[in-house]
């Protein structure tokens, strides 16, 4: 057994989440908080000579500490937000050290979901950098006895050009710290022409650690004296242990004991699911012990849930009038006149996140305080949930955020972290809970299953004269109140109430659906099924009207205008409509751009080859995607090329943004090819990658080209918005190649051979 050294917290934090000594010594350093540690939340930035912001500190040696308040799960936001600080500070990126924040409300909202890290924190990062630069300039001017207005900054130095003087940021840090911080209105932000990093981008701060295995994920957290736990959860949501026998489990070498975890109360929320934990000396022994548990379950009412029957229920609901969420004109009056009326049902099943790192968390409960190390998107949510579970104050929950081996929304829900905390309290020692892949697939917060009914009447020119759309899906708020059955505005807005078309008669409805599993956010959430229905139905109507799908789509988007919701609740992803109006001209522009870049209508396509297009706004970004597919006689589908154009306002890190859209195409490929979670008698049927397959290298697009619109509009989301238009465009491409309509996902059920 290698020894785990305990070093001071400060030393650990200096290494950030990268273990500094790992390569040399072959052991990992982890923080060990002693009970005498009064300020567990302190960062090096806090202790730096100049500390004008919670996000920033400058040491006399010139080191610039920047605190990353948001979680890193692969979007590079841990690098990109500090890059904004460094730019405004005129700092040398090579002298920047990034520290990962603990869960702490002083950093603002830390729940890294909803594709808004840059959008929500861009201004705060600029202000942090500008404040420090202002103070450094003032300090230099005072020292030199010259007006501050004559001083400026160059890379990591303040300069006074006429006297040819300069001073490094480190030299000035102490003097600057004695000066009053400037008022916000006194700050002078750098003009765009002077930006060093913003718009140019930077690779991940952690890149070398990521390719050397030195990066520390939640799975890699270790603590002196810790034991490992694997939890057998109730197979059906809301189930309880009726009786159990752990005799055989305890015979497994390395197993120490079993510990029950109480089932959740009322709605599941983020509480642990309950069940029985096997505690062991290593992960594998815990897994093995679990297999030997003999448990009889009381499954409760969700045992009646079967996903096949549920699909029929959703569809039946969608075929009858539902709750109207937005209405223009009188669609029914047009339908009543008859003529060319088209209807179609679309369906997207439950989807699992399947991040490569399964759920895992390490907890130490000691002296009334809980310290956690977890790959979490939501450290403040960890604090709230653990505090409630353990009956302690939120301030006594200390959450270290490791790197995340993928998140996609799953790791915003801290149920697995709460499990570790509960077990550590019961055991009186550090406990690391490790979920198996099977646990991950079977006990997810799934993206909602959804059924969409679409109906349109076409006029003489082929354009819709009336449009009706109904969606039915179990809503996410059902995890907090099981009786919630209608979609809430925050999810109905996702590509549903904001259909971008200029339609004279439009009715948008939503029907009720009761949840029988935990429903949650998954990369682009309700936009997946809403964009699928609207963009595929558009393609169907184009063909019915004998029109080219691109021309028809542009016709429906119409002339540039700002959508007026006329009193319909449209949360706009939490942003103001003034800063982020819904501009159809921007959607039109990316559609035209992707058509041109992909040479729509100009490329030759052979037998079994086809292209599809779709356009969609989500998380305030406008995206249009063209997918090319080849389907051979055996029904095997290849994706030779994807083109995607996006307008996300100001893009701070274009390289990271391109990567997000390349990745979104692969994520969407998995959804379309094989994404399907089903349930029998309330229990999830799938378990691992053999029955919940992910796109592999040859399944994924061979080439994804990403085109970014140059824009000075405020930054918008880039992590999620690539997925919805890809899913629809891929489905439309399948039709183009085969003549078979994709109305039910995934296409593995379509029978393409």
């Amino acid at each position: 057994m290698s020894t785990i050294e305990n070093v001071s917290r400060r030393r650990f934090l200096r290494g950030g989440i990268i273990a500094a000594g790992a390569l040399v010594l072959g052991v990992r350093y982890y923080p060990k908080l002693s009970s005498g540690d009064k300020l567990p939340h302190d960062t090096n930035a806090d202790h730096a000579a100049l500390h004008p912001s919670v996000y920033l500190g400058i040491d006399p040696d010139g080191t610039v500490w920047i605190v990353a308040g948001r979680s890193e799960m692969g979007t590079t936001s841990r690098t990109t937000l500090p890059l904004v600080v460094a730019d405004e500070l005129d700092a040398d990126w090579k002298r920047v050290r990034i520290e990962q924040a603990l869960g702490d409300s002083r950093y603002g909202d830390q729940n890294t979901d909803g594709s808004h890290s840059i959008r929500s924190f861009y201004d705060a990062m600029r202000e942090a950098g500008a404040t420090a630069r202002f103070m450094l300039i003032q300090a230099a001017a005072k020292e030199w006895g010259v007006p501050a207005t004559e001083c400026e900054t160059d890379l990591h130095v303040v300069v006074h050009r006429s006297t040819n003087r300069g001073a490094g940021y480190g030299e000035l840090a102490r003097a600057a710290a004695k000066l009053p911080a400037p008022k916000r209105e006194d700050l002078k932000l750098k003009p765009k022409s002077a930006w060093r990093y913003v718009g140019k981008g930077q690779v991940s701060y952690d890149l070398e650690a990521l390719v050397t295995g030195r990066a520390i994920y939640g799975m890699d957290a270790r603590l002196d004296g810790m034991v490992y736990a694997s939890v057998e959860h109730p197979p059906v949501l809301g189930g309880k242990v009726k009786s159990s026998d752990d005799k055989e489990a305890l015979k497994v070498r390395g197993v120490r004991q079993t510990v029950p975890i109480d089932p959740f109360q009322q709605a599941p929320g983020f509480q642990p699911l309950g069940g029985i934990a096997v505690i062991a000396d290593n992960t594998w022994a815990a897994f093995q012990g679990r297999k030997k548990l003999n448990i009889s379950w009381d499954n409760g009412p969700n045992e009646a849930y079967n996903s096949d029957a549920y699909k029929n229920e959703l569809r039946a609901t969608s075929h009858n009038p539902c709750k109207v969420v937005r209405n223009i004109g009188d669609a029914d009056a047009v339908f009543a006149k008859g003529g060319r009326v088209y209807e179609a049902d679309y369906y997207v099943p439950l989807l699992a996140h399947a991040s490569m790192e399964p759920m895992v968390a390490l907890a130490e409960f000691k002296d009334g305080k809980a310290t956690l190390w977890a790959p979490t998107q939501n450290p403040q949510g960890v604090q709230d949930t653990v505090a409630k579970e353990l009956g302690i104050a939120k301030e006594d929950v200390i959450c270290h955020v490791t790197l995340l081996g993928g998140g996609f929304g799953r790791k915003s829900k801290p149920d697995y972290v709460a499990e570790a905390a509960v077990l550590s309290k019961k055991m009186g020692r550090p406990v690391k809970v490790v979920w198996t892949r099977e646990d991950d697939i079977k006990f997810d917060y799934y993206n909602a299953v959804a059924s969409m009914y679409m109906k349109a009447a076409l006029g003489a020119d082929g354009k819709p004269t009336a449009w009706l759309q109904r969606s039915v899906f179990p809503p996410i708020p059902s995890i907090f109140d099981v009786n919630t059955v209608y979609g809430d505005p925050a999810h109905l807005q996702q590509g549903w109430t904001d259909i971008p078309y200029d339609l004279p008669n439009l009715r948008i409805e939503n029907g009720p659906a009761k949840a029988h599993v935990r429903i949650g956010w998954l990369r682009s959430v309700a936009n997946i099924y809403h964009a699928f229905a609207i963009q595929c139905f558009t393609d169907e109507l184009a063909r019915a009207a004998g029109r080219d799908p691109l021309d028809y789509l542009l016709d429906l988007i119409g002339n540039p205008r700002t959508i007026d919701f006329k009193g319909v609740e449209y949360p706009n992803y939490g942003a103001s409509m003034d800063a982020h109006p819904w501009e159809t001209g921007r959607l039109r522009r990316v559609t035209e751009m992707v058509a041109e870049e992909s040479r729509w209508g100009k490329r030759k396509h052979g037998k079994g080859t086809g292209v599809g297009i779709a356009a969609h706004r989500s998380f305030l970004s406008y995206v249009a995607t063209v997918v090319e597919v080849e389907v051979n006689d055996q029904g095997e589908v290849r994706i030779p090329r994807v083109d995607t154009a996006l307008d996300a306002g100001l893009v701070v890190n274009p390289e990271a943004t391109r990567a997000q859209f390349e990745g979104a195409a692969v994520f969407g490929t998995s959804i379309v090819r094989s994404g399907e979670i089903t349930a029998t008698k309330g229990a999830i049927d799938q378990s691992n990658f053999q029955d919940y397959p992910m796109a592999r290298i040859a399944d994924a697009p061979q080439q994804t080209n990403v085109y970014i619109v140059e824009s000075d509009a405020p930054p918008a989301g880039v992590g999620e918005p690539g997925v919805p238009p890809f899913v629809a465009a891929f489905s439309n491409a399948i039709f183009s190649a085969t003549g078979k309509r994709v109305r039910d996902l995934p296409i593995s059920k379509l029978g393409l051979s």
Binding site: M219, R253, T283, S355, P358, G405, N688, F689, Q690
Partner: protein, 151 residues
Amino acid sequence: MIQLKVNGAEQSFDGEPEMPLLWYLRDVLGLTGSKFGCGIGLCGACTVHVNGQATRSCVTAMRDAAGKDVTTIEGLDKNGLHLVQKAWMQINVPQCGYCQVGQIMQAAALLNSKKKPTDHDIDEAMSGNICRCGTYQRIRAAIRAAAGEMP
């Protein structure tokens, strides 16, 4: 007692012989570079080299590792960065990075056996490694770049 070599160092193990090599590396030796992804050899996150062959350590029992020479990411190149790792950085492959250690070990084994792999060879060799972030096109580009640097 099971004897084996890990990154050039002699090791002995007197635990459960059925324990997969992955958990010995991670939980016993503290070599956490190799990752747990599926536990049944379907995702490749746990890939290490056993006697030079890319091997899924999550389904390799310690009894089968006896007498073998095991290389993990921590020992891939004693002099710093392996040319595959350099190519990974040059092409900026990783997003979350969790699967990348396994991808790199798989790619390094491929280039050991085939200095100039075709795209078909690459797809074939890498088909057992899942990347949920979807970095495949960069993985392919990085392997091509590394192949171009092969001595």
